[in-house]
Symmetry: C2
Subunit: 303 residues, 2 copies
């Protein structure tokens, strides 16, 4: 099953050096999930060939502008481009008020429904559970209410050994039962144990999105063992005081989180405008967690 993340923006606070504010899009089994939506996200989608019409779920972590100011424009463009499908939107309760006010004054009545779910930054909540994925909020520790999002693949059905099924001549109508673990008995009464006809599906993967937050152990347990951890890394560690003051994390701290929670890979982003190049941030994180990458716009990472 496809499970990957494409970075649309990774600048903190202000756009600079061709870096756009935060946004990323997950492709989970060919469904697109948009996570945060800074100003210019719809332009970035055009640039990187992400079809906005394919997005059915949008998640907003918090109401600092660099994480949501592209949302109204995107919602409006979906409407103008003829969207009819319901869109599920998750974010702080006040987000709804902001959207409603702006559409009220532009006298826009959307052609599609927005199904809004308010997030609660004080506790973990399961906000989606569909055939592909379970999504939980991650309570973070920022200056204003903020949640991350944890995407956990559902365990898939067993995989059929097609050649073996063909050799034995198993009728197609048995396939669903086989995927669910049933044995098969042929017309002569011969029993085939399920594990001779199928193999286990891949272990479900997990992706954690942690933006913006103070280094704070409160969210560590929830994201233990994730395959890919996206963590903000606004500053180098020589700016630790500034990071604390603004409720952000340094690159070294992001790597410490990854180490502590046994993440397999780390992706750092939300870079401060003070860094024209990002090499030092990467090196700092890699110094203790080698499997680190930079959240560079347009790049896609497999979970």
């Amino acid at each position: 099953m496809k499970f990957e993340v494409t970075i649309l923006g990774s600048s903190s606070a202000t756009p600079i050096y061709n870096r756009n504010p935060t946004s990323q899009v997950l492709n989970i089994n060919e469904r697109l999930y948009l996570v945060d939506c800074g100003e210019g996200t719809q332009q970035q989608m055009l640039r990187f060939d992400v079809r906005a019409s394919r997005i059915d779920h949008i998640f907003i972590s918090h109401l600092h502008g660099d994480h949501y100011l592209g949302l109204i424009g995107l919602l409006s463009s979906l409407h103008l481009n003829g969207r009819k499908k319901t869109l599920k939107l998750f974010g702080p309760p006040q987000l709804k008020e902001i959207i409603d006010l702006q559409f009220k004054y532009s006298e826009t009545t959307l052609q599609y429904e927005i199904e809004f779910t308010a997030t609660d930054p004080t506790k973990t909540q399961t906000i989606i559970s569909n055939e592909d994925v379970i999504v939980e909020t991650i309570p973070l520790d920022h200056r204003i209410p903020c949640t991350g999002f944890l995407f956990r693949e559902k365990k898939r059905l067993r995989k059929l050994l097609k050649d073996e099924l063909e050799r034995i001549g198993v009728p197609v109508e048995y396939f669903t039962a086989l995927k669910k673990g049933a044995d098969y008995t042929d017309l002569k009464g011969k029993l085939y144990k399920n594990d001779t006809l199928t193999t286990d599906s891949d272990e479900p993967k997990a992706y954690a999105y942690c933006s913006d937050t103070l280094y704070n152990q409160q969210y560590f347990k929830q994201i233990d063992n994730v395959d890919l951890l996206y963590h903000e890394a606004t500053f180098l560690n020589n700016m630790l005081d500034r990071a604390k003051e603004t409720h952000h994390t340094t690159a070294l701290q992001a790597a410490e989180v990854a180490l502590t929670v046994h993440a397999k890979k780390l992706l750092i982003g939300h870079f401060s405008a003070r860094y024209k190049t990002l090499d030092e941030l990467l090196e700092e994180a890699q110094s203790i967690f080698p499997e680190t990458n930079l959240a560079i716009e347009g790049k896609t990472f497999t979970v």
Copy 2:
């Protein structure tokens, strides 16, 4: 005196084909005036080397997203980049409510003051009169309340004939009076008429910004004789019905406005997403008004 306009965006409704939503910046005697501010305007400023910190006046024509969704991000970036100077903002009264709500929920207290002036789309109002320019609102006819803006240079003081003044030996302290039209009498009592020592300054120029509007004669008189007319031209004239229905103008109509009001030059913009290339729009306008240009992003036009 410098009087020019740089296009930052000229797409209508949605960004597409690398065209951003509407925004443009006027440089009038080295002061910058921002007119509309679609999503991504601050990114466009970075791209085209327009220093946002130099902008002291921002004008928003109306509350369709493609004309103002970049404003909150820009105001926020000015704050984060240390602005202290008051910023004058002109726009529909509801704009203030939208800004206040968004800054309330991001818990942002700007370090600078926004001096907000609500525009009234039902009548022409003079909203700025400083040493360089007079700015009036232009009541337009759109689906929601909308005003254009007319920038009229102030008549400058007379220009000194430096060589002549030096030859006669006119002391510097007389220069201001000469610029204002006074004659000069030297120590021996000899009179020099002002027009032998100065020349008239250039005729004041005028720039009209008309976005978005139905073709409607109500605003023609006010913009008569402008040197440069920016007029929206969302559609080709074969889409006239659609233009009327959506309260927009065709390229041919924009050229008709320019002809009727005796504009010296025409700049068309606000192009519909249906036009991948803009040649046809230009040709249609030029067919009756040859001095037409396309409002291409990054291009600067002298008024």
